[in-house]
C-alpha cells in the first residue's frame, strides 16, 4: 500500500505502457461524417446530424460512452447512467468514479487518441474555465432554455446542475445546528469535518467561503472564514478527516460541511442526518458539463448531453437533490418533478456565486494561509 515517488512515476509509466500495449487503436469515428456532411467530432447540434433520430443512430453505432469521475451517489449519476444506457442501448464505461476534476483533464491528455479516453467532462469551475480549449462546442436541443449566465458564449460548456453549501449533521449524536456560529460550541468538540482541503477540493473551497460570509466576510474577503476555522481548530472542534459515506455512516464524522446534495445523499442511508443551509451565508456552485474535443465516441458524447439537458435528465438530477440548470424554465412549463424539487432547499435572499476572478484571489489567499490556520 505504500507508494514511493518511484512507484508513482512507475505507475505512470505502467499506465502509458499498458495503454500502448492494450488499448486498441480507436476506430476513426472523428473522421466520420454525418448525413449532412459535417464531421461528427465537429457537429455543433443535433441538426448537424440531420435531426435527433440520426444522432441516436450514430451514437448507437458507436455503442459506447466513456464517462469519468461520476460517483454513483453524486447528483444521482448512478441512476442517470443506467437510464441512459437502458434507453439507447449504449454501454457506459465509468472510469475512476471518485476522481477529482483535474484528474478528468489529466486522463484526457494522457489517453488522447485512445479508445479509453473520456468522452465527456463534469468539472468544477476553475478546472473547467482553465481548459475550455479542450472542449467541443455543442448546443443541446434545450439550449435556449438555459439562462445565459449558465453557459459559455462560445458554447464550449454548459452548467448542468448546482447546489448550495450546507452543514449536515447526525441529529442522533449532536444537538441541532442552526447557524455557522453554533459549530464553536463545546457540544461539537472534535466533530466538525470539511469535505477536503480548500486548496485542493472545490467543495471545501466553497465551504470556507460560506463560513467567511457568515462571519462578516465577503466573496472578495475570505480571511474571516479562515480565521473561523483557526478558532474551530483551537477549540478542538475541527475534525481533520476527509468525510466519505463510510465515515458518516460509521459515526466518525458527525458534522460535515459539504454541498447540500451530497449531504442529502447521506440522509437516504442515515435517516437522522439533517441538513441546514445557513440563511445568512448562501453559497451556490454549479458544475460544468462539456464534451472532450478528442472524444473517442463523439456522437455518444453529444447524445449524452442531449439526455442530461432533456426533461428526463434534468428531473433525474433533481431526484439526486441537486438543482438542475433548467429548473426555473421547467417549473414554468410544469414539466418538473415536483416531489423531487420540493426536497431541494428553498432559498430566499441573496445567493453568492464567486466569479472566476474572485475565485483566483481567494485561492491565492488560501494557498498562503490555510495550512497555517489549521496546522
Amino acid at each position: 500500500m505504500k507508494k514511493s515517488v518511484l512507484a508513482v512515476s512507475a505507475a505512470a509509466a505502467l499506465v502509458l505502457a499498458g495503454l500502448i500495449a492494450c488499448a486498441p487503436p480507436r476506430k476513426d469515428n472523428s473522421g466520420g461524417e454525418t448525413s449532412s456532411g459535417v464531421k461528427v467530432s465537429q457537429a455543433k447540434s443535433a441538426a448537424d446530424f440531420g435531426g435527433m433520430d440520426a444522432l441516436v443512430a450514430a451514437a448507437k453505432k458507436e455503442g459506447e460512452l466513456n464517462v469519468i469521475a461520476l460517483p454513483p451517489d453524486w447528483a444521482n449519476y448512478g441512476v442517470i447512467i443506467k437510464a441512459f444506457s437502458d434507453k439507447y442501448g449504449i454501454r457506459v464505461n465509468s472510469a475512476q468514479p471518485d476522481a477529482a476534476s483535474q484528474d478528468e483533464i489529466n486522463a484526457a491528455n494522457q489517453q488522447k487518441g485512445k479508445s479509453a479516453a473520456p468522452d465527456v467532462f463534469d468539472l468544477g469551475q476553475s478546472v473547467a474555465l482553465a481548459n475550455t480549449s479542450m472542449f467541443a462546442p455543442y448546443q443541446v436541443a434545450t439550449f435556449d432554455d438555459i439562462p445565459a449566465a449558465f453557459k459559455d458564449p462560445d458554447d464550449a460548456w454548459v452548467n448542468d446542475y448546482g447546489g448550495y453549501m450546507s452543514i449536515g449533521f447526525d441529529s442522533a449524536k449532536v444537538p441541532p445546528i442552526t447557524s455557522v456560529n453554533d459549530l464553536l460550541r463545546p457540544e461539537y468538540n472534535g466533530k466538525v469535518a470539511l469535505n477536503g482541503d480548500p486548496t485542493q477540493a472545490g467543495a471545501a473551497f466553497s465551504g470556507v467561503l460560506m463560513v467567511a460570509l457568515s462571519q462578516g466576510g465577503s466573496v472578495d474577503d475570505v480571511a474571516p472564514g479562515v480565521e473561523f476555522f483557526r478558532k474551530l481548530r483551537a477549540a478542538g472542534n475541527f475534525l481533520p478527516v476527509d468525510p466519505t459515506p463510510a465515515t458518516v455512516e460509521s459515526g466518525q464524522t458527525p458534522v460535515v460541511i459539504d454541498w447540500n446534495y451530497l449531504n442529502a445523499a447521506e440522509t437516504a442511508k442515515l435517516p437522522a442526518w439533517q441538513i441546514v443551509v445557513p440563511p445568512n451565508a448562501v453559497v451556490a456552485g454549479y458544475y460544468y458539463q462539456a464534451i472532450n474535443k478528442d472524444a473517442p465516441h463523439p456522437a455518444a458524447a453529444r447524445l449524452w448531453q442531449e439526455f442530461l439537458y432533456s426533461d428526463e435528465g434534468q428531473n433525474l438530477f433533481a431526484a439526486g437533490g441537486v438543482r438542475p440548470v433548467r429548473a426555473d424554465q421547467m417549473m414554468l412549463a410544469g414539466t418538473i418533478d415536483k416531489a423531487a424539487v420540493d426536497k431541494i432547499p428553498v432559498i430566499d435572499g441573496p445567493v453568492t456565486v464567486p466569479s472566476p476572478d474572485q475565485t483566483d484571489k481567494a485561492t491565492e489567499f488560501l494557498a498562503d494561509n490555510w495550512a497555517k490556520a489549521i496546522g
Partner: protein, 281 residues
C-alpha cells in the same frame, strides 16, 4: 562472449522492468523538473525553497527519522528476543510470520483502524470518555505529525525485525565461547564483540526504515486530509488540486527532491551493508 550473452539472457525481462519502472520515470522526473515548456529553467527547483515546501521536507525528515529510530530500537530488541529462542520454537515462527504480514500492513486499512479506535470519535475514545471521563484523542493529535509517527511505527517495528534477525543469526556462538574462554564477561562480550559487529547492520536497517517511511503515502493520505504536511501529500496536492491549478511542474520538482534524499540514504545503506557482509559470510 557468446556464452556470456547466453547467461545474461534470463536477465533481460528484469532489465526491461528496471528500465520501464525505474529508469524512465526517474529520467522523466529529472528532465521535467528543469524543463518548463521545452525551456531550461530552475524555476521549479527554486520553488522547493518556498516556506511550504521546506516545511514539508522538514516534517517528512522528522517523521521518517523519528519512526526509523523508534522502529529500529524496539525492532532490534524484539529481534534479539526472537533469536534467543530455539529455531524450532512455535512462538518464534509465529512472531516472524506475523512480522512479515504487519510490515506490509500500511495504507488505508491501517489508517482507518486507528481512526476507528483512537480517533476523535473512535470506539476506544468514546468508551474511555464514558467510563473514566478522559479524552484520549485530545485535540486531534492522531491527525497530525504525532499521529503519523505512532501509526508509522506500527509497520516500522515489524520491518526492523525482518531485516535485523538475519544479522543477529550471523553472530556465531563460537565467538561468544571464544570470548568467554578468554575470560570476558557477558557485558564485555557485548561491548567489544557483538555490538561493534552489529552496529553497521543496525544503522543500515535504520536507514532502510527511514526510506520506507519517507516514501509511504497511502497511510498518511487516509489520515491527514488538511494542509499536506509531508512531501508525498504535497505532491498529491500539486497534482490533483482542482482549486490551485497548473502545479504539475512543482510536483516534478518535489519528486526529484525525494529521489535525491532516498538516493543519499541508499548509498549510505549500501556502504554499511558492505561492512557487515565481511563478517557474516
Amino acid at each position: 562472449m557468446v556464452r556470456r550473452l547466453r547467461e545474461g539472457l534470463p536477465l533481460l525481462p528484469f532489465l526491461a522492468v528496471v528500465v520501464i519502472f525505474l529508469i524512465i520515470p526517474t529520467v522523466t522526473v529529472i528532465v521535467s523538473s528543469v524543463y518548463t515548456d521545452g525551456v531550461f529553467s530552475f524555476d521549479r527547483i527554486q520553488a522547493l525553497f518556498s516556506g511550504t515546501a521546506l516545511s514539508a521536507l522538514a516534517k517528512s525528515v522528522l517523521l521518517s527519522g523519528s519512526t526509523a529510530i523508534i522502529g529500529a530500537v524496539l525492532g532490534a530488541v524484539l529481534a534479539w528476543l526472537i533469536v534467543s529462542s530455539p529455531p524450532s520454537s512455535m512462538v518464534r515462527r509465529a512472531v516472524i510470520s506475523l512480522c512479515s504480514v504487519l510490515a506490509q500492513f500500511g495504507g488505508v486499512a491501517l489508517a482507518f483502524a486507528f481512526l476507528a479506535t483512537v480517533g476523535l470519535n473512535g470506539v476506544l475514545t468514546l468508551w474511555v470518555q464514558q467510563v473514566f471521563g478522559w479524552n484520549l484523542a485530545g485535540s486531534g493529535w492522531l491527525y497530525s505529525l504525532t499521529g503519523l509517527i505512532l501509526v508509522y511505527t506500527y509497520f516500522q517495528i515489524p520491518l526492523m525485525v525482518i531485516v535485523f534477525v538475519p544479522a543477529l543469526e550471523g553472530l556465531r556462538d563460537q565467538w561468544r565461547e571464544a570470548a568467554v574462554s578468554l575470560g570476558a564477561s557477558t557485558f564485555r562480550y557485548w561491548r567489544e564483540v557483538a555490538v561493534p559487529l552489529l552496529t553497521p547492520a543496525f544503522l543500515g536497517s535504520a536507514l532502510l526504515l527511514f526510506a520506507n517511511a519517507f516514501a509511504a503515502y497511502a497511510t498518511a493520505a487516509a489520515l491527514v486530509s488538511q494542509g499536506s504536511p509531508i512531501l508525498p501529500l504535497l505532491i498529491r496536492a500539486a497534482l490533483t488540486s482542482e482549486v490551485v491549478l497548473g502545479q504539475a511542474g512543482f510536483a516534478y520538482a518535489l519528486a526529484l527532491e525525494m529521489i535525491v534524499v532516498v538516493a543519499v540514504v541508499m548509498v549510505a545503506y549500501n556502504a554499511l551493508v558492505k561492512r557487515t557482509a565481511r563478517w557474516l559470510r
